[in-house]
């Protein structure tokens, strides 16, 4: 297979542009603040010291990190429905964990199967997902990787997935339920 075909060098045809609800500068402030808060929460977990001095250090550190990477952590687009996403995400995680557990049992059974060679039938499948936002693609791709018998080989920005499946059974469910869940999660 030709690897080069996988790289998307053409512009995406349908780019969704949402009408901004907040002005850019406000968005910046919000994303900075959110990043800062997330960081600070992490800091407290990491530090475990609640005295003034260490919290002060934490504020400085979080400010630095938020300044450096507020654009990285929080996408400016769709900043307005973050809380909803997070709530959905929390709901999504247990389901994912369950799927992961299933997947692991499956692979485990394969690993301990004495007739391994006969059971497995690896191949590569492709499909087009309806997801468009990078974050959703990312979550979907990683979920695929974690779940039974499938590993994402490549995701193009336009949502074309290339997946390696360990046997035919594993590939059947794709894109399927998981895509729906992710789409719902990200509000697409």
């Amino acid at each position: 297979m030709n690897v080069d075909n996988l790289s998307p060098d053409e512009l995406s045809p349908d780019e969704k542009r949402q009408t901004p609800a907040f002005s850019t500068s406000l968005k910046q402030i919000i994303s900075f603040a959110i990043t800062f808060l997330i960081c600070f929460a992490t800091w407290i977990i990491l530090s475990g010291r609640l005295d003034f001095f260490h919290l002060g250090l934490g504020v400085i550190a979080c400010a630095i990190v938020a300044r450096l990477s507020s654009t990285k952590l929080i996408s400016r687009r769709g900043i307005e429905n973050l809380p909803r996403q997070w709530f959905r995400f929390v709901c999504y995680v247990p389901w994912l964990l369950y799927q992961v557990f299933l997947a692991n049992l499956h692979v485990m059974s394969l690993a301990f199967n004495p007739r391994l060679i006969e059971v497995i039938d690896p191949k590569i499948i492709r499909f087009k997902s309806k997801l468009t936002r990078p974050m959703s693609l990312f979550i979907f791709a990683n979920s695929i990787t974690l779940t039974p018998g499938t590993i994402t080989v490549f995701v193009s920005i336009t949502g074309e997935f290339t997946v390696h499946v360990i046997d035919e059974y594993s590939g059947l469910s794709l894109p399927g339920e998981m895509e729906e869940k992710v789409a719902e999660l990200m509000g697409e």
Partner: protein, 109 residues
């Protein structure tokens, strides 16, 4: 609590075992990634959770923070591990390594 922790750890170790044996037994690079990517993550998840539980037994602030930190590790691993798996796989594809297919079944793609 500590019993639960022990069970979790043991099952985690079990997953680890599966992962290692899988890595050894699977026939080619692509299929080896399946046990490596999944079972190890799962094993880590379980052992870590077990250890977090064990730590939090002694219910002090420090212990809670410590177990939270352990949970943070799990979060990290859950983000990075599939990515790493994917990266390796991608590398394999780009390197032009052809996937192993079951004998007799041929390329049906």
């Amino acid at each position: 609590m500590s019993l639960l922790a022990a069970i979790l750890i043991i099952s985690g170790l079990f997953f680890f075992t599966g992962g290692s044996i899988g890595i050894l037994r699977f026939p080619d690079f692509y299929s080896r990634l399946h046990p490596a990517g999944k079972l190890d993550t799962m094993g880590l998840l379980m052992t870590m959770t077990g250890m977090a539980l064990y730590t939090v037994q002694e219910f002090t602030l420090a212990a809670i923070f410590t177990s939270l930190k352990i949970l943070l590790i799990i979060v990290f691993v859950f983000i990075t591990s599939p990515t790493a798996t994917h990266a390796i796989l991608d590398a394999g594809v780009r390197a032009g390594l052809s996937p192993w297919t079951a004998p007799g079944k041929g390329e049906r793609e």
